[in-house]
Each structure stands twice: as C-alpha cells, then as structure tokens.
C-alpha cells in the first residue's frame, strides 16, 4: 500500500479514531458502495430491459446454472465447466510456468555478464515491443489450432517481462557482496542461492506480475480465435455468435474473478518470499 499524505483533520471526534477503526470504516464503505452499484445496475437493467445489459442477479444465476450446478462428486462442476474452464486454466498454468522458469533461468544467465547483457539487450527490447497478439497468427501457421499453439503463444508473450526484469535484477547485485562471496569461496550455486536470487527477487516478482496478466490475456485471446474447440475464450465467442448475452457476461465475470484470484495469489507468494529473502540477507 502506498503511504499517502494525511488530509487535515475535519469534523469533531476524529482524534478518537484509531487506524483500525478507520480501516474498518473504509472496508464497510467499500463493500456498501459495491453493493449499491450492483443494486443500481440491477434496478436500471430491470427497468430498461436491455438485452445487452442483463441484471447482475440473472448473470449470477446463469453462471451457477452453467458451471456450478453439477453433481456433488464433481465438486458441483458441470460438464460445461470441466470441458471449458479446466482446459483454459491448464493451458494458462502450463504457459505461465514455462515462461517463468525459462525467463528466470535465462535472465540470470544473461544478467550475470555485462557483455552478454549488452549483446542480448536490443534483441530483447524488440521482442518485448512486439504486441503479443501479433505473434499468435505465426503460431497458428506453425502449430495449427489447438493446445500447443495456445501454450506457445502464452509462453512467447509472457517470457519477456520476467526475462528482462530478472536480467536487470541479476545485473544490479551489489559488487561488494560479490567480492565478499569470492573471498568466502562460495560455489557458483551458493552464490546464486544466497546472493543473486535474493537481490533480484523484487524485480523478478515485478516481472512475474506483468507476465501473469499477459498469460491471462493471451490465454483468452488464443481461445477467441476461430478454430478453437474449448476454453473460456471459446465459450465467449460461441456465446457471441449466438448473441447469448447472459453467457458472455457470465464468462466476463468468471474471468474477472479469475484474474483477481491469480493476482492475489501471486502477491501472497511475493510477500512470503521477498520478505524472507530480505531478512536472511540483511
């Protein structure tokens, strides 16, 4: 959270408020505003009756019918959910993991040498500047439609932010510490574990956050293309072609929730790792 400059006190009794009660009031305000917004949307949609903007209650009901009304032994997931949400998640996980591992490994390899970094920098800058969706048609030609093409699209789009950030981070390891490591005769592996990785970690995570949202974008984009057989993106285009607005909205809500969950998860991991990394290295 950002430290924000305090506004001058207003109104009586402000001194009595602790930080906790202010936070609680803000949380209450936040949720009531959200509830109010949804209610207004609900009422407006009901009154207006537009096909394009269905009321949120209907969207929620439709989402439950579509995905979460299955048998208990399938954890309430319907066939629709198993057939479309799980493949999407699988492809995204595979693409993001490959991009993260490859990005961190290559980034460290490149960042460790000033020469290698200078050699690779312009090529990397160009690779990053290409808008990722422009690459997808290339993979469609090479790999045809299907999961390999989609995973390749995700990897080749998400790898650059991690790679470039990791290389930057590895490059800026404190030279004094490297000398100390040389004096202590740390093996290269130990140097990597105790020196380079911890100091590069905050930048690595900044890269991972960008890569995660790119993975989600490319997952959806690669499934929106004609010729896809399943996935959340497929559900979207399929519903679009049938002008099934309820399903379009339900898929959007699902993707928003998914994006929120993934971000929160990555932030939690970052807090643990970066926090611990700082304490062990001082």
């Amino acid at each position: 959270m950002t430290a924000r400059a305090k506004v001058p006190p207003r109104g009586p009794g402000r001194a009595g408020h602790t930080a906790g009660s202010v936070a609680a009031r803000h949380a209450l305000l936040r949720w009531s505003v959200l509830a109010a917004a949804v209610t207004v949307w609900q009422l407006a949609a009901r009154a207006h009756g537009s096909v394009y903007f269905p009321p949120p209650v209907e969207i929620a009901r439709h989402a439950v019918d579509l995905w979460f009304s299955g048998p208990v032994r399938h954890v309430f997931l319907t066939e629709e959910a198993v057939g479309n949400i799980l493949p999407s998640l699988g492809r995204m996980a595979a693409g993001f993991c490959v991009a993260a591992v490859a990005g961190i490994a290559l980034g460290i390899a490149i960042g460790r040498s000033r020469r290698v970094y200078a050699l690779c920098d312009p090529v990397l800058q160009f690779a990053r500047a290409v808008p990722p969706p422009a690459l997808v048609p290339v993979f469609v030609v090479i790999l045809d439609f299907g999961t390999p093409m989609q995973i390749a699209s995700i990897v080749l789009s998400a790898v650059w932010p991690v790679l470039i950030n990791t290389a930057e981070g590895a490059r800026h390891t404190d030279p004094l510490r490297i000398e100390v490591a040389a004096v202590l005769r740390l093996t290269p592996l130990e140097r990597l574990r105790f020196l380079i990785l911890p100091s590069a970690l905050p930048r690595i995570f900044a890269g991972l956050r960008l890569s995660l949202s790119l993975s989600l974008i490319l997952m959806v984009f690669s499934e929106l293309l004609p010729g896809t057989a399943n996935g959340i993106g497929f559900t979207l285009t399929d519903a679009q072609s049938r002008s099934d607005l309820l399903t379009v909205w339900a898929a959007l809500v699902l993707l928003g929730a998914l994006g929120h969950l993934l971000n929160t998860g990555l932030l939690a991991v970052e807090k643990r790792l970066v926090g611990r990394g700082r304490t062990t290295t001082g």
Partner: protein
C-alpha cells in the same frame, strides 16, 4: 564513453547473430520453409511493405485508433485519478469497483463490445481506452501520494485553497508519474488495437493485415513482416515516450511505474 561504444557494438552484434540464426535455421531446412522463411526474405518484405500504400493506410488506421483511445484514456484517468488520490473517502468507495474491473483481461471484452458497437473503429477505440485507463489511473493516484507534503502545507499556510494546491503543487509533482503511466498504457493500447483487428478480421489495420496473411497459403512471410512492423512501431512509440519524459522531467531519474 568506451563502455558505451562497446555496448552499442555488442548490441549490433547480437542483432546480427539473432537474424543470422533465423536465416541459418531456415536455410538448413531444419523447419519447413513455409513455416519459417529466411530472415532476409522477411526483412526484404517488411521494407517492401513500406512502399505499399494499402499497407501504410492500415498502419495509419491502427495508429489512429491507438492515439484516439490513449488520448481518451488520459482525459478520463487523470481527472479521476486526481479525485481518487486527493479525497480518501472517494478512493475507499471506488476501490471496490476498481478492484473488480481491473483484473478482467481486456481482450475478453472484445466479443461483448463487438456485439454492442459492431466491428468498426468505435470498438477498437473503446477497447483501447478501457485497457489504457488503469495504468494511468493508478500512477496518478500513486504519484499524488508521493508529492511533497511540506510544499502543500506551505501553500495552505499562505491561505491557498484546495484547488490552488492541487494545480500548483500536486499536479506538477504527479506529472512524471502520469507520464510513466501513459508510457505503460501506450504499449497496452497497441496490444488491444492489434488484438481487436486480428479478431475482427476485416476493415483495415496492421492486425488485419497479419490475420489475413495468416490465412493465405505461404503467408508466413507476410505475417512475420507484419510482426516486424508491429515490433518496430512498439519500439518507436516507447522510445519517443521515454525521450519525451527525459526532456520534460529531467529531475526525476529512475523508475516511476507502479502496478
């Protein structure tokens, strides 16, 4: 100065190596030639496209949607960000809605917006605007939190009102952050413009050129030439914005971007 020279030479060498590797892989027949044409042919085609007026019109169409969308995003995000950043109650109230809207991958909106607005320029501009708003908005709010409290207090002590403080201290102090936000949004805007074009499949634009070339037999050379153009556009835009930032805000070096 010598280190800088070495850097440039090595960088150029790296580019040559990368191009050479692509060329060699293709010429040696490791992959089908229709899948990966030699780099020299792709680059030659990219240069040839520079003289193709239909292609240039497409680039112009993409850039128009990009610029219009980005301008609208600035016009919306900066004032909203200033309000959110200077009135904590509004910030707390709006945060819930913002936190629900932001994680939605903006390309997922393409089907909905296409249904609403058709597949013309409006769709592109609307999507570009939506996606570009977030980085500018968050950077504005963040930058406002970083302005010098002493300067604000001084101005207040002299009896300046809230608006005067905003215009004289907070806005100038936040400007570098806003500029950094615009730079991030510029890249996102290009992604959205190209993505929308690729999916809509007709009309004019760089994405449409790439999508149609992808459907043609042996169109990979054209697809890759289009990708080279897309990358070059991205580089030029980013370079111009970085240069502009350095000229306008020389006193604040380093990284200023958030989330």
């Amino acid at each position: 100065m010598r280190a800088r020279q070495e850097q440039v030479v090595l960088g150029a060498l790296g580019v040559l190596l990368a191009v050479g590797a692509c060329e060699a892989v293709s010429r040696a027949g490791l992959v089908r030639r229709s899948h990966l044409p030699p780099a020299s042919e792709v680059l030659a085609r990219a240069v040839e496209l520079a003289g193709d007026s239909v292609f240039l019109d497409g680039i112009a169409a993409t850039l128009r949607a990009w610029a219009l969308g980005l301008a609208l995003a600035v016009a919306i995000a900066v004032p909203v960000g200033l309000v959110l950043g200077s009135v904590p109650v509004v910030d707390a109230a709006a945060r819930a809605i913002v936190e629900f809207l932001r994680p939605l991958p903006s390309v997922a909106l393409i089907p909905l917006v296409s249904l609403l607005l058709g597949s013309g320029t409006e769709t592109k501009v609307a999507l570009v605007t939506y996606a570009s708003i977030w980085p500018i908005l968050f950077n504005t709010v963040y930058g406002l939190g970083e302005t010098d409290p002493l300067a604000k207090d001084t101005l207040r002590a002299f009896g300046f009102g809230r608006l005067a403080v905003l215009l004289r201290v907070e806005l100038p102090g936040t400007a570098p952050f806003i500029a950094a936000g615009i730079r991030i949004s510029a890249a996102i805007a290009l992604i959205l413009a190209v993505a929308t074009e690729i999916l809509s499949g007709f009309g004019e634009g760089l994405g449409i050129f790439i999508a149609q070339a992808g459907l043609a037999t042996d169109g990979t050379r054209d697809v890759l030439a289009g990708v080279v153009w897309a990358g070059a556009l991205g580089l030029v835009i980013n370079g111009a914005l970085v240069w502009g930032e350095r000229r306008l805000f020389p006193w604040t070096p380093g990284r200023r971007e958030v989330g």
